[in-house]
Amino acid sequence: MATTAAHPRSGPKLIIEPRLYTPRWLSPVVSVGAIVVALILGGGVIAAVGGDPLAIYAHIARAAFGNLGVFSDTLVIATPLILVGLACSLAFRMKLWNIGAEGQFYMGALGASAVILAGWVPEGTPQPIALGIMALAGIAAGAFWGLIPGLLKAKLKVSEIISTLMMNYIAIQLVNYFVFGVWSDSGFQMSKVFPKMAWLPKLGDYAKEVPLFRGLTTHFGLVFALIAVVIVWYILYRSRWGYEIRLIGDNPRAAEYAGIDIVKNSVLVLVTSGALAGLAGMSEISGVVHRLQGAISSGYGFTGIIIAWLAKLNPIVVILVSVLFGGLILAGREIQPAGVPRLIQGIILFMLIASDVLLRYRVRIARA
């Protein structure tokens, strides 16, 4: 045997090499593995500060998924997350960094509120019609908030990262203007409660017909969200437009070479992304809050960015991730110390992002 002159080695060695193929089953397996590792690490932290990890995990699970009632509350939080997660997934597919879902959410809420509060939809309008108009108004307002950065990018090459980010603050202040001023309910920083026709029906409303639904908060916005999932999935994987989006996202020069109008598509995708986030705002205002006020989103628009990434921009997976996050957010409100679910959320995020390495690289141990 020749001596390996170029290679003095001792003991086993970790070799990390790029993968040529990534099997389909690997991605879900690695993601579940990452969550398990995150829970173990989180448990270690909890134990270190004197808690009982198993008890706390059980508590979180109960608080988020323990019975029909809390699971229904989890779904209420998951609803806007699904919609903003879709909004981000669609834009990110084209490598358009829409980080303005938060602002588009607020604009959607504002638009949907406006048609009621400004009296354009008179009281006594049949509920489906009123809600339909609110949904369209929310979609239009969100889309408009996506159109502006879209046009800025198309005409003046303004980076959508900056413009969408800045427009978040404008949208939030715009809502505040209406809440403090125009539609302030006798000086309070909120509008008056919408008439019932502007409330999205929730499961609890049907308790008479189905006793099981008593007190359940899940509202019709979830149906909007699921329909939106199907539509976005169809756009991305079964439509010509989706093909163009994926092609531009992967290689804009190839897309240009294939005769695709990148500028037009940037505007269209930002508008559609804004529309989805706007619908989320409408769903939240009409399904949960029932009035316009400040602080209607606990950072849903930004959480949407994380959800889109964790779901690998896959609309179907967005549902799963949103429900998981909904549960963690809910548990964070209900259990003490409230920081624990946040901590676990953070560790899960970290693990999931880190686990991506395993999808792209193969790790093996070689012996010298």
């Binding site: 020749a2 001596t3 390996t4 002159a5 170029a6 290679h7 003095p8 090499e17 790029p18 993968r19 040529l20 193929y21 169809y234 994987y237 079964r238 439509s239 010509r240 437009w241 989706g242 093909y243 994926r246 092609l247 992967d250 290689n251 020069r253 190839a254 897309a255 240009e256 070479y257 294939a258 005769g259 695709i260 109008d261 193969r362």
Partner: protein
């Protein structure tokens, strides 16, 4: 064993990359004072073997001896300290610095004060000794590619190189520059240095090499045979494992109607400088017009203007009689202008999308793939399967991502997409560049088949032989202009035109 101590001896080199055995028990000997050509197809393991020698890669097994003494290199610096240096295809020079500054970069001397004029003189001296004229005070960005290569060689000589490895050094050079390079290499050999010349161009190897080694799929198929005792056909068959037919039966054909008519086109390049100046020519149905020229003389810009990817500043382009000047790429596609782009990975394909997604790029808008808004993926896959078979694209399946295809297979996928559109005009830019001999032949046959099918073809290639074999006539581009047209296959004349000479002798093309 000979009693002469070899400059380099490599024994049983094994180098693995994920999924590939790049070098499988390779032995290689380099004698002092010889030019040793290392031949092989793309992916045969030539560059890997030499990167091992130059200290860039560590082999999994095997030994290296330099002048009889065992050596193990941990870095290129290690290798350089034993007199071994490698010049890569892509130069590592800093464009904003002078020649001398580039050569001194990374050395211990000079320490603080640069004393550049003194070093400038030394650079000039070394250059003269080996027949290389380079101004030491010139900034690298001002130099031609050939001059930049000379800077790289000077850099090696200044560092005391005894064994110089050159990875496909002629790929970027004009014929006259190639002659200059070969003279320099001979001068170095006469000085007792040794040179490894990595190439897949057989004629050059025959011209310059003393001995030849051939690699195929990581294994040695010929070790140090004398160039004078072999022949191009023999080397070709050693490279590919079967004999390659180089002579095509090009059927005589009378060109038909004018398909592409270019009148006085001018355009600027990526840096805003004029790249095309008043270019006029025509291409008829059923003819291949070759576009010769050293890279960077306007060929790329011309292709972009013709396919709608770049705006022209003057002149008109007609395709089949329609004025398509400065129309969109989509309009070019609608006029059935096929384009095999120069840059396969950055323009011609979407690396992370599947073969299916890549081959429908130009046809997804039309039935049967499109159905109103929606895209019929079952049909798209079926189309991809058909093309994969018809163009022998080697891949596990049509869902394989384009980035996983080898150069030849990616090019076949691109060609399958472009040619299956039954183009009236085909603009093929460097369609065989970087492909191995077998793949080149396949691509060339496809081009000839298109010619017979009546397509008008504009073929740009850096391989003069390829142009001569395939083209009905050849236009030569130099500095954004058509320097001349050659119809008699006079390679020498083309070479002159490519380097800016010989323009008076023949009138401009029409």
């Amino acid at each position: 064993m000979s009693n002469v101590v070899n400059a380099v001896e490599m024994r049983g080199i094994v180098k693995r990359f994920p999924g590939v055995l790049a070098n499988d028990q390779v032995d290689f000997d380099l004698r002092a004072g010889e030019i040793h050509a290392l031949l092989g197809e793309n992916g045969a393991g030539k560059s890997t073997l030499m990167s091992v020698l130059a200290g860039l890669y560590k082999p999994e097994a095997g030994t290296i001896a330099v002048r009889g003494k065992p050596a193990g290199f941990n870095s290129p610096r290690d290798a350089m300290s034993r007199g071994i240096g490698m010049i890569h295809q892509h130069f590592s020079l800093i464009p904003s610095q002078t020649v001398t500054e580039n050569i001194l970069l990374g050395l211990d001397e000079p320490r603080f004060f640069l004393r550049l004029p003194e070093y400038d003189k030394r650079m000039t001296e070394i250059g003269k000794r080996f027949g290389m004229a380079v101004s030491p005070t010139a900034k690298v960005w001002q130099l031609s590619v050939g001059e930049q290569q000379r800077v790289e060689i000077l850099k090696m000589l200044y560092r005391g190189v005894e064994v110089l490895i050159m990875d496909e050094p002629t790929a970027v050079l004009a014929p006259q520059e190639i002659d200059g390079l070969f003279q320099t290499l001979r001068a170095m050999v006469a000085d007792g240095k040794s040179i490894v010349f990595i190439s897949h161009k057989l004629n050059e190897v025959m011209r310059v090499a003393d001995r030849v080694s051939v690699l195929r799929q990581g294994k040695v198929t010929a070790a140090g045979i004398k160039a004078s005792e072999t022949s191009i056909p023999e080397l070709a068959s050693l490279m590919v494992g079967r004999s390659v037919i180089f002579d095509f039966e090009k059927k005589p054909q009378t060109p038909g109607e004018v398909v592409l008519s270019v009148d006085g086109i001018s355009a600027t390049g990526p840096k805003g400088l004029p790249a095309l100046k008043n270019v006029s020519f025509q291409v008829r149905a059923g003819e291949i017009v070759g576009l010769a020229g050293v890279a960077g003389n306007g060929q790329s810009e011309l292709a972009e203007v013709l396919t709608g990817l770049r705006r022209s500043t003057a002149g008109r382009v007609h395709v089949q009689g329609d004025d398509v000047t400065n129309h969109s790429p989509l309009d070019a596609i609608r006029h059935r202008v096929a384009h095999v782009p120069e840059d396969r990975t950055h323009v011609g394909s979407a690396p992370n999308l599947s073969i299916t997604d890549n081959v429908i790029m130009k046809s997804y808008r039309k039935a049967p793939l499109a159905n109103g808004w929606s895209l019929n993926y079952a049909r798209a896959r079926q189309r991809a399967e058909e093309l994969k078979t018809a163009y022998s694209i080697l891949a596990p399946n049509v869902d394989t991502e384009a980035r996983l295809l080898s150069g030849g297979n990616l090019q076949r996928a691109i060609l399958s997409r472009e040619l299956s559109q039954e183009p009236t005009l085909l603009i093929a830019m460097q369609p065989t560049r970087g492909l191995d001999v077998g793949a080149i032949e396949g691509v060339q046959r496809l081009l000839l088949a298109q010619r017979e099918a009546g397509a008008a073809i504009l073929l740009s290639s850096e391989e003069l032989e390829e142009l001569l074999a395939l083209s009905d006539r050849i236009l030569v581009m130099y500095e954004g202009e058509i320097a001349g047209e050659v119809t008699d296959g006079d390679a020498e004349h083309i070479g002159l035109l490519m380097t800016g000479g010989g323009r008076a002798s023949k009138p401009d093309a029409k």
